[in-house]
C-alpha cells in the first residue's frame, strides 16, 4: 500500500535494518509456541489497525501495554488465529521494525496493511491476499465530477495524489486531467479539495471511505473494472507476512480463501465505522487531549523512564570507566598488562557505541540476539540496556575530560597524603570532575529524551511513537506533533532548569560563617 513507499523515505534507519534482516539468512526461528499467535502491526494505520484505550468492538490487548488494538487487520488476525487454534497477541511495532521482528521470531506474522512487494519477498514470505484494495478518486460531493463513471471522465479536472506513491503515478492513466504537484499527506489534500485548489485526489478505497466519513462534503467514486485504474497486485493487494518455510502457511491460506469478498468488504465497513474519529468541532487541542491524553501520558512516561534510567546508569558507567582509565602506571608487570587489556577493551566499547547509531544497536541487541543467539529479551529491558550503554560511552569521555580538567596539583596533594587512586578519585577528583562535567551531562540527558524516539524500532511505545500512532489514526498530523513537541520542550526545559539548581547546590553557599567556638562545630562528613 501507499505506506511502504512514503514512509520508507522518512525513516533513515530503515535501510540498515532491512540489511540486518537480509544479513542473517532467515533461519526458522519460531516465536515461543505457547498457544499464542503473535501478530506485528503499527496499531496506528486506520482503518487497518489502530490503538484504542478500551476493549470495545472486539479489540485485542496490545502486549505489554494498557491499550488495545483494533481494525481490519486485528479482526483478520482473530480469524486466522482461530483456525490455527491459537490466541491472538498484538505486538505493536514500528513499520521499520516489522520485518526484523518477524525474522527474529519476536512475532509470528505481520498483518499490518503490508503489500507483498518483490523487495520484501527476498526476506519474508507472504500468504495469499487478505484484502484487495482499489484505487479511487475523492471529489467534492457537489461538484460535476461526483457523477463520473470512468477515470476518463475527468477532462480539465485538477488532480493530485500523495507524494512518492503509486497513486501519483496512476494519474497518468486519467485522460485529459491537469496533474497538480503531489502533496504530502491526506489531511492536506482534503483541505485543498474542500477549498477548490484541486478537484480531486487519487487514493485507495479505505481512505476514500474514511474521507467521506470524516467530511460529508466529500465522496469517493466507484469504477467498474473496465473503467477503473489498472494496478499491479503488488501495490494494492495486502497479504500476511510470514517467515520463510512457516508450516502454518497452508492453513492460513485455506482460512483466507474461506472469507468471501462480501465478508471482507463488510469487515472493512465495520472497521471504518469503528475507527477512532477526532471531534472536528470545538477546540482541537482539547479534543486530542481528551481522546489521547492517557496514551500521550504513557508515552511521556516511557520516554522519561528511558532517559532517566539511561542517563543515570550511563553516568555510573561513565564514572567507573573514567576512574579505570586514569589509573596510574602500575609497578608490577602483570598489573600493567591487565590494565592495558582493560583500557583497550574500554576504548573498543566507547568507539563502538559512539560510532554506531543507537537505532542499529537496538535492532542488533533486540532482534539480532533473538535471531542468532535465541535470547528473548523484554523490549523495555532491551531499550533500557541500550540507552544506558550508549549514554555510558559518551559520559565516559565527558568524565575523562572532567578528570583531566582538574588541576594536577589536586592529584599531587592526594598522592602526597598517601591516598590510593580510588580514595583520590572518590574524595577529591570526582566531586570536582562531576561538577565540571554537569553541563555536558545535562546535554546528554536532553539528548536522551529526544533520541530515545528511535527505540520505537524495537516496539517501545515512547512519546514519538505514540505521536505517530495518534496522527496516523486521527489524521491530524500538525496538531498531534505540535502537542508532542510541546511535551518534549516541557521535559527538556524542566531538566535543564533542574540541573542548574543542582549545579548551584553543588557550588555551596557563597558565604561562610566565622566560627568562634570550634568545639561546637558539627563534625563534617567527607563525601
Amino acid at each position: 500500500m501507499m505506506k511502504g513507499f512514503n514512509r520508507r523515505l522518512l525513516a533513515v534507519g530503515a535501510t540498515v535494518i532491512a540489511a540486518l534482516g537480509l544479513a542473517w539468512p532467515a533461519q526458522t526461528t519460531h516465536a515461543a509456541d505457547n498457544g499464542t499467535f503473535k501478530v506485528g502491526m503499527e496499531a496506528g494505520y486506520a482503518p487497518f489497525n489502530w490503538t484504542q484505550s478500551t476493549s470495545a468492538n472486539g479489540a485485542v490487548k496490545i502486549q505489554g501495554s494498557q491499550d488495545y488494538a483494533n481494525g481490519y487487520d486485528v479482526q483478520m488476525a482473530k480469524k486466522v488465529a482461530k483456525a490455527l487454534g491459537k490466541k491472538v497477541v498484538v505486538v505493536k511495532t514500528d513499520w521499520d521494525g516489522l520485518a526484523p521482528a518477524l525474522t527474529s521470531g519476536k512475532i509470528d506474522a505481520i498483518i499490518a496493511g503490508m503489500s507483498p512487494t518483490a523487495e520484501r519477498r527476498k526476506t519474508i514470505d507472504f500468504s495469499s491476499t487478505y484484502y484487495a484494495s482499489k484505487l479511487t478518486v475523492v471529489v467534492r460531493r457537489d461538484s460535476k465530477w461526483a457523477k463520473a463513471k470512468s477515470i476518463n471522465d475527468f477532462k480539465g479536472a485538477k488532480i493530485t495524489a500523495q507524494l512518492s506513491t503509486f497513486h501519483y503515478q496512476a494519474i497518468k492513466q486519467m485522460k485529459g486531467v491537469i496533474k497538480e504537484t503531489a502533496m504530502n499527506n491526506f489531511p492536506a489534500m482534503r483541505v485543498a479539495l474542500e477549498s477548490g485548489t484541486i478537484d480531486g485526489y487519487v487514493s485507495e478505497v479505505p481512505e476514500g471511505i474514511t474521507a467521506q466519513d470524516a467530511n460529508p462534503n466529500l465522496t469517493y467514486l466507484k469504477f467498474s473494472k473496465a473503467n477503473g485504474f489498472k494496478t499491479d497486485p503488488a501495490d494494492v493487494d495486502l497479504a500476511i507476512g510470514l517467515r520463510k518455510g512457516d508450516p502454518d502457511k497452508a492453513t492460513i491460506n485455506e482460512t483466507l480463501a474461506k472469507i468471501s469478498t462480501a465478508e471482507r468488504n463488510h469487515l472493512m465497513d465495520e472497521a471504518v465505522a469503528n475507527q477512532p474519529t477526532t471531534d472536528k468541532q470545538g477546540n482541537w487541542l482539547l479534543a486530542i487531549l481528551k481522546q489521547y491524553g492517557p496514551m500521550l501520558l504513557r508515552g511521556t512516561g516511557m520516554t522519561l523512564l528511558l532517559a532517566l534510567v539511561g542517563t543515570l546508569v550511563g553516568f555510573i558507567i561513565g564514572l567507573l570507566v573514567g576512574v579505570i582509565r586514569t589509573i596510574p602506571r602500575q609497578k608490577k608487570a602483570a598489573q600493567r598488562g591487565l590494565l592495558a587489556v582493560g583500557n583497550w577493551l574500554l576504548s573498543v566499547y566507547i568507539e563502538v557505541f559512539r560510532g554506531t547509531p543507537m537505532i542499529v544497536q537496538a535492532a542488533v541487541l533486540y532482534y539480532g540476539a533473538a535471531q542468532v543467539m535465541h535470547i528473548n529479551m523484554d523490549k523495555t529491558l532491551a531499550a533500557l540496556v541500550i540507552v544506558s550503554i550508549n549514554t555510558g560511552a559518551y559520559i565516559a569521555e565527558i568524565m575523562r575530560g572532567g578528570i583531566i580538567s582538574v588541576d594536577e596539583g589536586q592529584f599531587e596533594a592526594t598522592h602526597a597524603l598517601g591516598m590510593t587512586h580510588w580514595q583520590t578519585m572518590t574524595k577529591v577528583i570526582l566531586p570536582q570532575a562531576i561538577r565540571n562535567s554537569l553541563p555536558a551531562v545535562t546535554n546528554e540527558f536532553i539528548v536522551n529524551i529526544k533520541d530515545t524516539s528511535v527505540l520505537s524500532v524495537i516496539s517501545v511505545s515512547e512519546l514519538f511513537f505514540t505521536g505517530e500512532t495518534i496522527s496516523g489514526q486521527s489524521f491530524q498530523f500538525f496538531h498531534t506533533y505540535l502537542i508532542v513537541s510541546a511535551i518534549y520542550l516541557i521535559m527538556t526545559f524542566t531538566i535543564s532548569r533542574l540541573f542548574r539548581l543542582i549545579e548551584k547546590r553543588l557550588d555551596g553557599p557563597k558565604n561562610y560563617n566565622v566560627e568562634n567556638n570550634q568545639m561546637q562545630v558539627v563534625t563534617p562528613t567527607i563525601k
Binding site: 596539583g409 599531587e412 596533594a413 597524603l417 580514595q423 570536582q432 570550634q518 563534625t523
Partner: protein
C-alpha cells in the same frame, strides 16, 4: 651519629635528554631542618619531588630508615603518609572546606574516626591561626591563609618528615611572614623538615644545615654559619651576594 631517616644515593633524574639532577647524595637525620637553596632551575624542587616519588628517579636510590622506597614491595602510600609535603601552589582540595581538608587524609589514609580527626584538625588549625575559617572553601581564602591550612593538613598526618616546596614563593610579601612564623614554630617542635626556599634569612635562622644546589648537583653544604658566613665555592659566593643584599 644517628641513623638517617632519609638517605639519597647517587640520584639522577633526566627529562628526555635533559639532565636535571646528576649524582645527588645527601642524608637527613631525625630532627634536622635542612634548607635547599639555589637558582631557579637548579633542580631543588625536582629533588624534593623525587623524595616522595611525585617524580620517579632515573637512577640511584632513596632510602627511608634504610629501606629502598623504589623496591616493588615497598608500601608507598604508607611512606607518603609519613613524609608530608607542602606545595608552592598550596593545592588545597577545592571541593572540601578548610576543616575537611585537614581531616580527609587522617580518615582515609590513617583510618582515624571522624571525631578524633576533627579534634586533631582543630588543634592544628588553631596553631596556624586558621581556626575561625574552618567552614570556608579554599576559593574563599587568601594565599597566605591557604598555605597555613596546607601546613596544618600536612601536619595532621603526624609525619616524620615534612617537605616544603617553595612554600612562600606564590604569596604576596605581607603574607609571607605568617607562613614563615608557622614553619618556625614547627621547626622548634623538633620535626624533621626539608625546605626548598628563596627566603635566605629564614634559612639562616631556622636550619641546622643548608644545601646549595647549582646545575643539578649539590655545589656546597654546611651549617648556616659555614655556608652563609664562609662560602667556599665561587658560584655560592656569587649567588649569596645577589640574595643577601636583599636580606
Amino acid at each position: 651519629m644517628t641513623e638517617p631517616i632519609i638517605e639519597v644515593r647517587n640520584l639522577k633524574k633526566t627529562f628526555g635528554t635533559h639532565e636535571v639532577l646528576s649524582d645527588i647524595n645527601f642524608a637527613v637525620e631525625k630532627g634536622q631542618v635542612i634548607s635547599i637553596i639555589g637558582r631557579s632551575g637548579s633542580g631543588k624542587s625536582t629533588l624534593l619531588r623525587n623524595i616522595n616519588l611525585l617524580e620517579t628517579p632515573t637512577s640511584g636510590d632513596i632510602l627511608f630508615h634504610g629501606e629502598s622506597i623504589l623496591a616493588d614491595k615497598f608500601d608507598l602510600p604508607l611512606y607518603r603518609a609519613h613524609v608530608g609535603m607542602v606545595f608552592q601552589s598550596f593545592n588545597l582540595f577545592n571541593n572540601l572546606t578548610v576543616l575537611q581538608n585537614v581531616m580527609v587524609g587522617q580518615q582515609t589514609v590513617l583510618k582515624r574516626d571522624a571525631d578524633s580527626a576533627k579534634k586533631h584538625a582543630l588543634e592544628l588549625l588553631a596553631q596556624v591561626g586558621m581556626d575561625p575559617y574552618i567552614n570556608a572553601k579554599p576559593s574563599q581564602l587568601s594565599g597566605g591563609q591557604e598555605q597555613r591550612v596546607a601546613i596544618a593538613r600536612a601536619e595532621a598526618m603526624d609525619p616524620e618528615v615534612l617537605l616544603f616546596d617553595e612554600p612562600t614563593s606564590a604569596l604576596d610579601p605581607e603574607m609571607v611572614d605568617d607562613v614563615l612564623n608557622a614553619m618556625t614554630a614547627l621547626a622548634h617542635t623538633g620535626l624533621t623538615m626539608i625546605i626548598v626556599t628563596h627566603e635566605m634569612a629564614f634559612a639562616r635562622d631556622v636550619s641546622d644545615k643548608v644545601v646549595f644546589m647549582n646545575q643539578g648537583v649539590i655545589a656546597e653544604s654546611g651549617t648556616p654559619d659555614e655556608l652563609f658566613g664562609h662560602p667556599q665555592k665561587p658560584e655560592t659566593q656569587e649567588f649569596l651576594k645577589r640574595y643577601l643584599n636583599r636580606v
